[in-house]
């Protein structure tokens, strides 16, 4: 470091030297990663939207609605609100069976909120600005609300789907669930990453 002459000499050559070294390193790294030289880890190829849709299907199985004279084999209406929530994967659930009941998809619109009869309500990300209005419109109706909007459960939604460490996990607002007269099994609450209003 204290030989000015040496440093000077280095500087004169350095631009080309650096460039060559840079090119070499790019090449070396390129070769090292040629396909086939590495064992591929086994892949789970579900997208985030698919995982979230799968969650919803599971919650539909475990939630208990208040028994108010509905026949045991009546449809479970899954209401959707928002601009193509979960990339359309919720649509694939239409007509699927949950026990002896059938999931029936119903689309709703923020401009015309009449949400009566919804067993489940999925609120898409596009409704982020005004999801509280939607929750207010529901009041204490026996509807399980779900969304991947940030802080959904904390602000009064039923179940919020959140991503932590690249995994989709869920938070529950028990106060909201209770007010709606719904029941979720304790096991589900135990594995929720956070339960508000416990």
């Amino acid at each position: 470091m204290t030989h000015p002459g040496k440093r000077k000499g280095f500087q004169i050559h350095s631009p080309t030297k650096r460039r060559r070294r840079a090119a070499f390193m790019v090449l070396a790294f390129g070769l090292a990663w040629l396909p086939g030289t590495w064992q591929l880890p086994v892949a789970d190829s579900l997208s985030e939207a698919q995982v979230k849709a799968a969650y919803l299907y599971n919650f539909a199985k475990f939630v208990e609605w208040p028994a108010e004279g509905e026949p045991d084999n009546s449809d479970i209406s899954l209401c959707l609100i928002g601009n193509n929530p979960l990339e359309g994967f919720l649509e694939t659930l239409n007509g699927r069976n949950i026990g002896e009941r059938r999931l029936r998809l119903v689309r709703h619109n923020y401009a015309n909120l009449s949400l009566s009869g919804c067993h489940l309500l999925y609120i898409g990300l596009s409704e982020q600005a005004h999801f509280l209005v939607i929750l207010n419109a529901l009041g204490n109706a026996p509807t399980l609300t779900l969304s991947d909007i940030e802080n959904f459960a904390e602000k009064g939604g039923g179940i919020g789907l959140v991503v932590r460490d690249n995994k989709v996990v869920f938070e529950v607002n028990l106060e909201t669930i209770r007010k709606a007269g719904l029941h979720l099994p304790g096991q589900l609450l135990n594995i929720a990453t956070h339960v508000y209003g416990r």
């Binding site: 790019v26 045991d72 659930l93 600005a129 460490d165």
Partner: protein
């Protein structure tokens, strides 16, 4: 309703003693993962399986922005960790459109869309709602801004004016550093490491539950960084030491009301070499000292939902920064209170309004290099904004109109309007356009300080011998605010769940830019002969236009391999003016970044980042183009524990990024950024 495959009630009574994951897995067959058909996979996966499933972050990022009619980019915690960065400025290198140039071991020049410098003043920076933009010099003291990097949830980078929501000084962009909620930082985290430049760092955080429906965390961290070398291989005096601690409490008062209290205290020691900038003693020879800074802040925020579906946020904070340097010492106290209310008068309007008040007190101790007149000043500023999100066509076309009006002690009243249009023909494509006007209010430094920028000598006829010349920046109390008129368009596309792109083009037109303008020299003969060359802070009469394009793309080639990158092009139309600084050459025309992330096995990860920055050509800022390469290898022996090695700037032993632009008289040999390596251990328990 009573005929589930396994009845919930039955499940409760018979399986409640079993482990929870087992209970939920039993409900469905294990072979689900093999299913090719996505729909049947959705049906067959159990909750415990879903909880273990890794999802790609590529589509999440683009989706969270698909409703944003602005040039926004999110740097996630995952990005920060996997890039191996150790400071906030380094993390900002990951965003398109943000110019980050390191000056020495402890200082940076950071801007968005041009006008870079150590005191770049057109980028507003906030940490959890607290502005860290200093009103003393307009800019950010980057070496004072820190937190436990592992606690950062995300950094939102918004290029372009953000005045309506964020207020003055968000001329070219806003950076929002958002830390995690305490419910997401439960348990303990310990990090430690060191290397040749990162001589040592250690951090600890503990999180727990409060008595009520809330949680808390406390953290402490310390680090020490080695000084850099200059181009001659001489060790500089720019080392950096920091001790910092803080806490955060998030509490739920009821289902509809929440509050957060958080705060930090810190002490920093930053090596500084004071260059001769006055002709009189003691600043006629360069000498090295340690600048000391300590500070503390306390933020409290109350968020509530009201019965009509509207929401409000009431936030107040106190921030103190106290620094001691040979040229200038300052104790600054800021008290800020902010109220925002979001309401929904009818289905096609989401309305938001807010008011803000800030009191700033600054007490300086000057020197022959920098003098503030008056040396101590308390002043206030305030503003109000309203913004309406109007849905023109449901889910397809949205118009946002807003304006902020702001009154400040320095400069005149500013009206900062903004109109944005967002077209989302479908959920994976969005096109937006925006026009806005934003302002930067003059800083106290520009309005009230005299700064010795440099000392030189000149021969002025008819005197036969050279005379000492003092170059002085002179305060101008009559400065107006700088204004920008900005037009932007952008297109965001999610081509598949593995590939997304984001393109933005902008044109900014600046008027009344505050710059140092060369004045008429004056000669003093008593007590000795001295020529003073004044440089007067002036609103530039010439207008400057900048244009640029910013691209970013994210490609999750395979579940275990991801490419991401960005490119920014910037053109500054500002003809060289001998009486004004050469702003055009302060920013590179081309900049690009390419990241390659590989999960080699489930618990080993490799990250490579290559960065290219074009040359800087300003008269006082000639910096050659450079390409750097960083690599990080991480091994997770057990969940929550990680060993990593990070090698930075591998392509060259050292390279120059930015010359210190604090003074006119530059050091002959600029500080260069060396190649470095460090190891890190991180344990979540």
């Amino acid at each position: 309703m009573r005929h589930y495959p396994i009845r919930p009630k039955q499940l409760k009574s018979t399986l409640s003693l079993l482990l929870v994951p087992t209970a939920l897995t039993l409900a469905l067959p294990e072979s689900a993962k093999a299913a090719d058909d996505a729909a049947s996979a959705i049906e067959e996966l159990s909750i415990s399986e879903l909880m273990q499933m890794e999802v790609s972050s590529a589509s999440r990022k683009s989706q969270s922005l698909s409703n944003t009619a602005a040039a926004a980019f999110i740097i996630s915690q995952d990005d920060i960790r996997r890039a191996g960065v150790t400071s906030i400025p380094e993390a900002l290198r990951l965003a398109p459109g943000i110019e980050v140039a390191q000056i020495n071991a402890s200082s940076w020049a950071i801007t968005s869309r041009g006008f870079n410098g150590r005191y770049a003043n057109k980028l507003l920076v906030l940490m959890d709602g607290r502005t860290v933009y200093t009103p003393l010099f307009s800019g950010v003291f980057w070496n004072l801004q820190d937190t436990l990097l592992e606690d950062i949830e995300r950094i939102e980078v918004i290029r372009g004016p953000g005045a309506v929501m964020w207020g003055a000084n968000a001329v070219n962009g806003v950076i929002n550093i958002i830390t995690k909620k305490t419910k997401d930082t439960q348990g303990n985290l310990f990090v430690a490491g060191g290397g040749n430049q990162e001589q040592g760092f250690v951090g600890y955080r503990h999180g727990g539950r409060t008595g009520g429906d809330g949680s808390y965390r406390v953290y402490a961290k310390a680090f020490e960084r080695e000084a850099f070398l200059n181009s001659q291989g001489e060790r500089q005096h720019d080392d950096w030491r920091s001790v910092q601690g803080g806490f955060r409490i998030d509490e739920r008062l009821s289902g509809n009301h929440r509050f957060t209290v958080q705060g930090d205290v810190y002490r920093k020691k930053v090596g500084n070499t004071v260059q001769p900038s006055t002709v009189s003693a003691p600043f006629n020879t360069a000498f090295s000292v340690d600048d000391l800074a300590d500070g503390a802040n306390l933020i409290s925020r109350w968020e509530g939902n009201l019965g009509d579906g509207s929401e409000f946020i009431l936030q107040g904070y106190y921030d103190r920064v106290n620094f001691t340097a040979p040229a200038l010492s300052d104790s600054q106290d800021i008290f800020d209170i902010d109220f925002q209310h979001r309401l929904h008068p009818n289905p096609s309007h989401d309305l938001m309004w807010g008011i803000n008040y800030r009191y700033i007190h600054s007490a300086t101790v000057g020197s022959s290099s920098i003098t503030f007149t008056p040396d101590s000043l308390g002043y206030q500023q305030g503003g109000a904004f309203v913004q309406d999100d109007i849905t023109l066509i449901d889910h397809t076309l949205r118009l946002t109109l807003g304006s902020k009006i702001e009154e400040s002690h320095f400069g005149n009243t500013q009206v900062q309007p903004n109109a944005r249009l967002l077209w989302t023909p479908n959920s994976s494509h969005s096109v937006w356009a925006s026009v806005s006007r934003a302002a930067r209010i003059p800083s106290r430094g520009e309005a009230q300080s005299g700064i010795a920028l440099g000392a030189t000598s000149a021969t002025i006829a008819p005197i036969p011998f050279p005379l000492p010349v003092q170059i002085m920046a002179q305060a101008n109390p009559d400065l107006k605010a700088e204004k920008v008129f900005s037009a932007e368009v952008g297109y965001r596309a999610q081509w598949s769940n593995r590939f997304s792109t984001d393109v933005t083009a902008f044109s900014n037109h600046y008027t009344d830019l505050i710059m140092l303008n060369r004045g008429t020299p004056s000669v003093q003969t008593v007590p000795s002969i001295l020529v003073t060359q004044p440089m007067l802070w002036t609103n530039l009469s010439r207008e400057i236009t900048t244009r640029g394009i910013e691209l970013s793309a994210d490609w999750n080639v395979l579940d275990w391999m991801r490419f991401s990158g960005n490119y920014s092009h910037l053109k500054i139309e500002s003809p060289l003016d001998p009486n004004n600084p050469d702003t055009a050459g302060l920013s590179p025309r081309h900049r690009g970044l390419l990241r390659w992330q590989i999960d080699m096995t489930g618990n080993t990860h490799l990250d490579m980042t290559m960065r290219h920055v074009g040359r800087l050509s300003a008269s006082n800022q000639s910096v050659a183009a450079y390409t750097t390469f960083d690599a990080r290898f991480a091994y997770e022996p057990i969940a929550g524990m990680e060993w990593s090695v990070v090698a930075q700037n591998l392509f060259a032993p050292q390279h120059l990024e930015f010359r210190d632009s604090a003074a006119v008289s530059l050091t002959d040999f600029a500080t260069e950024i060396p190649r470095s390596i460090y190891g890190k251990f991180s344990w979540n328990f």
